[in-house]
Symmetry: C2
Subunit: 135 residues, 2 copies
């Protein structure tokens, strides 16, 4: 009998964070088990929190090896208001990842396409399991 | 023969982050080994990165049990400029912790004293072991 963990819905009154230029600080686990944290653009598809990175980066390697992650998404207009999520990377795919980073670029930079270091884009879907808010 | 890990010095050209109202996103490890991340005020004594929390909070319990942490300190004026630190909590003390949070309150809020939820303040000293910068 398989146990399916249900994604925790994110609170409605914090979904505006996914329309703003809000950064998520993403914590992943190094091979040693110690944490690493970097800022990333962030998105939400109504079920999963979406993160986009490039193949071979430290966070890419970490999430492939150890899917437990945490994110903290702060309101760019008020650093004391934030949404903190703990969860599991349930999908890692290159499918649609380029389109997705271009879409994020639109929101975060106002440009139609992503301009950044080269690399094959990867999309990660994070299932929220614990959610807390502040502010 | 004891092996002493030397703290990595933080780069001079990022020390301005410790004069601004820069938030650190602190990743700690839950008892399960999965990460947790929350924003905190942050300080640097020239050797250790200093974090201040209150006794009994999740991050307090996490740092006492598993001293491996990571911090990402972003420039409040430019989210693409940041200092990322991985390291170990080498001291946890209540000594001087109240004075320290009042000092941080001065920098972050302009008030002479910290106003916040009650609790015994705790000061954590993080030895930087891996340091990277962006922007």
């Amino acid at each position: 009998m398989a146990t399916e963990i249900r994604p925790v819905p994110l609170p409605e009154d914090y979904l505006d964070l996914f329309e703003k230029r809000s950064f998520a600080h993403l914590a992943t686990l190094m091979p040693s088990g110690s944490p690493q944290v970097t800022p990333v653009w962030v998105d939400y598809d109504g079920t999963h929190v979406l993160v986009n990175s490039a193949r071979g980066r430290q966070k890419d390697r970490n999430m492939r090896n150890r899917p437990q992650v945490a994110l903290c998404i702060a309101d760019p207009d008020n650093p004391y208001r934030y949404l903190a999520v703990r969860g599991t990377v349930v999908a890692v795919t290159e499918e649609g990842a380029t389109e997705h980073i271009d879409q994020l670029a639109g929101r975060y930079t106002g440009r139609a396409r992503y301009v950044g270091p080269p690399g094959r884009r990867v999309l990660y879907k994070v299932r929220p399991e614990r959610v807390s808010t502040m502010g």
